[in-house]
Amino acid sequence: MNFKHKYLFLLPGLLVLIGILIFPVGFTVRLSMSSWDSFFPGLDYVGLENYFRIFQEDSRFWEAFGRLSFLSVTTVTLQYVLGFALALMVWKDIAFKRFFRVLFLIPMMTTPVIMTVIWKTFFHESLGPVNDFLNIFGWNPLWLSSEILSKITVIIVEVWQWTPFMFLLLLAGLLSLPKEPYLAASIDGAGPYRTFIYVTFPLMAPISIGAIIIRLIEASKIMDTVYVLTSGGPGTATETSSFYIFIKGLREFQFGYSAALSFTYLIIMIISLTIIAKVLVRLMIRDN
């Protein structure tokens, strides 16, 4: 065999890889060491100055990161619990099984931004139907402009939008489980509670971990919901990392600094998700 032209054949793939992955990452790293902004555009070199700024001065970024952690962990936990419950509901033979299976998937099929606009209308404090209804009891909660409630609103919308994804993965997992453990459990006299704890849950552990990790990665990118629903407000009550980076980069045009923020964020996410995955595996599949 003549390997003279092997690089020629590898070239298209390599070019794509370099063009869409390696160059952007490399450029971001270089950009993060410049002070490029709207007043002084250009790739100058300021060393690690931007990074010192993040770790020494920028408490807003770390607060946003803390908020992001809280929001993603809460929403993914709720999605997992609800998704599992729904999947268990339509797993066994019930009436209208097919109908429910499709029904539970509808939120995932809608366009997130548009659904968020609709949710925003729902929760509108003076014009929305939710408060219209609650007014009957004399309540008028500030869904979008209270510091705590606005977080809950974001959580509600996120959970509604993405629980179907969990539901889908977990149902697929449930449907692929072997029969024998259930027969054995019923022969051993285990009731539904024990069967779930000792049979279903352990058998579902691997797929659960996969589903949770996928959703955590997705949830940590949360941006559109916040942007449309509250724009990070009131104040910075619902501002998340990606939204903050968006503000720094594409509203204030501090390209150099936002590149440093992005890169820091990327490193933190890679480390923390690796740790989370390890911990989940340790917790759920205890012996491997």
Partner: protein, 357 residues
């Protein structure tokens, strides 16, 4: 411990169809309390269906099941108090061996002391006492299968222990020891053991009574000896024994006499009332004698091949076109080419329309 009765039980997996196909055809059967049974048959003959009907995992589309005269047809599996071991070991991954063994007791609200006591007992019988604190996932396949079995044994009052090809995953040497242990357990606990298998050796060495099934029908129930010496149908003759029973097309020539081609063979069966033309003479290869001269009940054969199995020789021969096999002692010199084979009268089984007369 219970006597299990099947009354007119039949099962079809799609009973709503106009002419349902039965996985298990109508049968009446009594399993004696404390008996050791094997259900034997080729794959897909309804063995597992029968077992699942008894354990309650499948509700029969027709008929009733009685435990000690008590109708349990509509009672759930856990209330029937039955133990079942499946082909592949089922263990609870998150538990230790001891917790696995004690699980059926835990589900039935036994006290902690009682559970520990019984688990220790069963672990000793099964030789698992050193593994009790280990996580169950760390065990080998055969140890896992022992745990599955142990979960059935911790409840001493089980009506029956049903086993669905439980030793498939276990290597031959251990298989032998486990079968012996199962026998001991049966004698110790006096529990009814029902053992499904498609391996005749397993069935023969394990059971007091063997039930042979074919196409959803129970063909014969009997001791290993009965199945071997007097198979009720040609199917049982073929299925049991290695090599299969010799079957030769025959014609009735008199009260006790049949002919195979020109050769006349006398038997002990009364053939005077048989009308069918489909007659077969069956004889086990173990009972066929090899001779060098034609005598009474002898048939001329052409010897094709002799296989030496060490402890015996298997002679493959032909009479016309029908093959005959004979197991002979290893010291006997087998002639090449033509020879005579004797069918002893007492060993001949005559089948009319595939059924023993």
């Amino acid at each position: 411990m219970a006597k299990i009765e099947l009354n007119n039980v039949a099962h079809s997996y799609s009973p709503a169809v106009e002419e349902p196909e039965y996985a298990l055809k109508k049968c009446n059967l009594i399993w004696k309390d404390g008996g050791r049974y094997a259900v034997l048959g080729p794959s897909g003959c309804g063995k597992t269906t029968m077992l699942n009907i008894m354990s309650g995992l499948v509700k029969p589309s027709e008929g009733f099941i009685n435990f000690d005269g008590f109708d349990v047809t509509n009672i759930s599996t856990s209330e029937r108090n039955i133990a079942q071991v499946f082909q592949f070991p089922v263990i609870y991954n998150t538990m230790t061996v001891a917790q696995n063994l004690g699980f059926p007791l835990l589900c039935r609200n036994y006290s902690k002391d009682e559970i520990t006591k019984k688990v220790d007992q069963v672990a000793q019988t099964l030789g698992l006492e050193d593994l009790l604190d280990l996580r169950a996932t760390k065990l080998t396949a055969d140890q896992k299968q022992l745990i599955s079995l142990g979960r059935g044994l911790v409840r001493e009052d089980v009506a029956a222990i049903l086993m669905d090809e439980p030793l498939t995953v276990i290597d031959p040497d251990l298989k032998f020891r486990l079968r012996r242990r199962l026998k001991e357990i049966n004698e110790l606990y006096k529990s009814t053991l029902i053992y499904v298998t498609h391996d005749q050796n397993e069935a023969m060495t394990f059971a007091e009574n063997i039930l042979v099934m074919d196409h959803g029908k129970i063909v014969q129930v009997g001791t290993p000896l009965e199945l071997f010496e007097r198979p009720k149908t040609t199917f049982v003759g073929y299925f049991i024994g290695s090599p299969a029973m010799n079957m030769l097309q025959a014609e009735i020539k008199g009260k006790n006499v049949v002919s195979i081609g020109e050769t006349v063979i006398s038997t002990e069966t009364d053939l005077s009332k048989v009308k069918s033309k489909n007659i077969k003479l069956g004889i086990r290869s173990e009972f066929v004698e090899l001779h060098d001269k034609g005598k009474k009940n002898c048939i001329s054969v052409e010897i094709d091949r002799v296989d030496d199995f060490g402890n015996f020789q298997l002679v493959s021969a032909r009479h016309g076109k029908s093959p005959i096999k004979a197991k002979v002692h290893r010291d006997i010199a087998v002639p090449a080419g033509k020879a005579w084979m004797k069918f002893p009268e007492t060993r001949c089984c005559v089948y009319s329309d595939e059924v023993l007369l």
